[in-house]
Symmetry: D2
Subunit: 217 residues, 4 copies
């Protein structure tokens, strides 16, 4: 779409970032439009380290989309600034008794009690997604992901899946101990998907991970 | 059913309890069988007082079933002894972001982290049920009740509804502020239902709230 | 519990059934109490045969509990008589788009449209449970089982899990094609669990699969 | 954003549509970009007429967003062409036994069995949302909406709420018979929300219902 107009700038940015200069540029010409990076926040809780491993793979997937800045934080460390600066939020939790961990539920509660998201719906239109780890195949990973998405829908976020029907997930005990390569690939697919949708929401059909969209014609 | 055999004892108990002597009796004759009371624990979280009000109505409903002992506790106060002594557990929560409160989720998590219910499944075969309060009509009361039941199912509890399709619930804002009489009646219906099913599980079809079952023929 | 009183009868029944005479006996002495078998209905939908395979294993598990009669039927074949004669109902479905199959949902709808369960709540106090098969690990088996249980809870049934946190389930594609032995064992565990709880509900703590309960002391 | 470049065209379109000429225009200049209308399909099942009433209000809300074409169809009438031509899909169902109607579930199943959406994920990136009607306050409207959204997430659609935490809903019996004005307003809010998000996904932050975005500077 109209992205074509700032493709020269895009190419220039690719050049800059390859030198590690980062994306701090803000266009001042062409009527004031800008190419801001998409910011993806990955927030998780982890005790055994499994969900943390998934979180890093989710982050890597999001990072693979050009001009995307990724932060990975434990839910207990997320600040209001980080939350509100994000264009997209991906929340991950281990399954405790068929649902997200109390720490993750408390994180959502704090959106109101500490960060005051309501009644302005400060998370409105941010892209949201979920991932989960659980000991058994069918003992709550789906519920965990769907209730994370339900919390996001209540906040008027725009919700997607990726790396699985409701998000990325991993079975960590029994015949499938820990996180295997397929599960990590699903986590990366989720991160990539979220970053791409965040770009779509921000700038329409422009897809920075599609080379076609970056070529000046 | 075979209840008939200790109906004289039952009548005697009614007499005793009317003097406030309580049910401390344990049969030693007739092959050792006993009439233990059914113990119902109502555990809830409440900030505004609405869920607390529902909890007391749930307790009143359970209490209306003869030989039923009821305890009502905030989730943060429930001890391992109280939990494991109960024949039935009814958990109530306000809706925070489409799901139970973090405090209630943490309560369930503590079943493992503090009380060590797993791997013995110490809550197995106890009767479980849920109630919820929420500001709006359809913003999470169902999810809250169903995820409470899901946590109980994961613990191999025996789960019922009552006072509504998934349990008792109340809408506390908008056109229906606070807890109204119909909602309290639903809460009482839930408590009564749970106590009756707990009796069924404990002693088969014997229903202590049915006078017929208490008459010596 | 008071079961002791008809243990001689129980022993006699074991003798009779060993001759294939079946359980048609109904006590006329001791005040009219009886030992009716528990009837478990397993209803399922299956196209590929996977859910059918699970259904038969569920049935086998229920059958392993003495004095338990099992019927296995496709949901499209279940009659009102079969439904209402059952003490316990176990419903199985493949996952189609994150939920039970339309055929299974229509079966539940027919409880009202064809069988008129409401407003009398004709399924009240029957024991209910669920099982599911799905292509991927986390693409709807949990939702399928929980929404089957939710339909049952709306009917005031008494709901249990077994062979898994929400019921028995099998992943049928990818790294785990078809139904494997562990999944069949889970299905049998579900059937056994449901029959045992149905006995508890019917006759209190009497457990016909516990030899102790069948010995005359 | 870059929308500014075709704002003259937008103004011209407003002029044209005010004569009822419709939006059939497709730009051929400026490198081939175009302003296609957003197409919103509202698909529902209704027996009593309540869900149909909600469907029309949802449609009206979507229609209120400029350049948005709306079709309202019973699920049984939706063709593959209608489904795949839509940029956004809003599905509504009455609650039958704690879940969507069998007709609506079968509609989703037909996406595969009749329309062959998988494995290409033909619904990918379309915006999805849900609405529900139910007799009681908490007897399945949430589950109905969330499982509709779950089916959409499994199809890699982009999912939003609106007019309520999970979508628009109406209680149709008891103290709140039929569909009241607040419930219709929620339905309209859902339709508007979905059309706006469909625009965002299609063309970035451009919001055709915001006058600011339509003014040539």
């Amino acid at each position: 779409m109209a992205m074509r107009y700032y493709r020269p700038v895009v190419i220039w940015l690719i050049f800059l970032t390859s030198f590690g200069i980062g994306i701090s540029w803000k266009s001042s010409g062409w009527g004031g439009q800008s190419l801001e990076p998409v910011r993806v926040l990955v927030a998780y809780h982890s005790m055994s380290g499994n969900t943390g491993k998934m979180a890093r793979a989710v982050g890597k997937g999001a990072q693979s989309v050009p001009f995307t800045l990724v932060e990975i934080r434990r839910v207990s460390e997320v600040t209001a600034n980080q939350l509100f600066a994000a264009d997209a939020l991906i929340v991950g939790s281990p399954v405790y008794w068929s649902n997200m961990a109390g720490e993750v539920k408390t994180f959502f509660d704090d959106w109101q009690f500490k960060f005051g998201v309501y009644p302005e719906f400060k998370m409105r239109n941010k892209v949201g997604a979920a991932f989960a780890t659980g000991g058994q195949v069918s003992s709550g990973k789906e519920i965990t992901m769907l209730t994370i998405l339900a919390a996001m829908l209540g906040n008027q976020m725009i919700v997607v899946s990726g790396g699985g029907a409701f998000g990325a997930s991993a079975t960590t005990e029994g015949e499938s101990p820990g996180i295997n390569e397929k599960e990590l690939a699903d986590a990366r697919a989720l991160g990539k998907r979220v970053a791409e949708v965040a770009w779509m929401v921000k700038d329409g059909q422009f897809n920075p991970s599609n080379d076609e969209d970056l070529i000046v014609k």
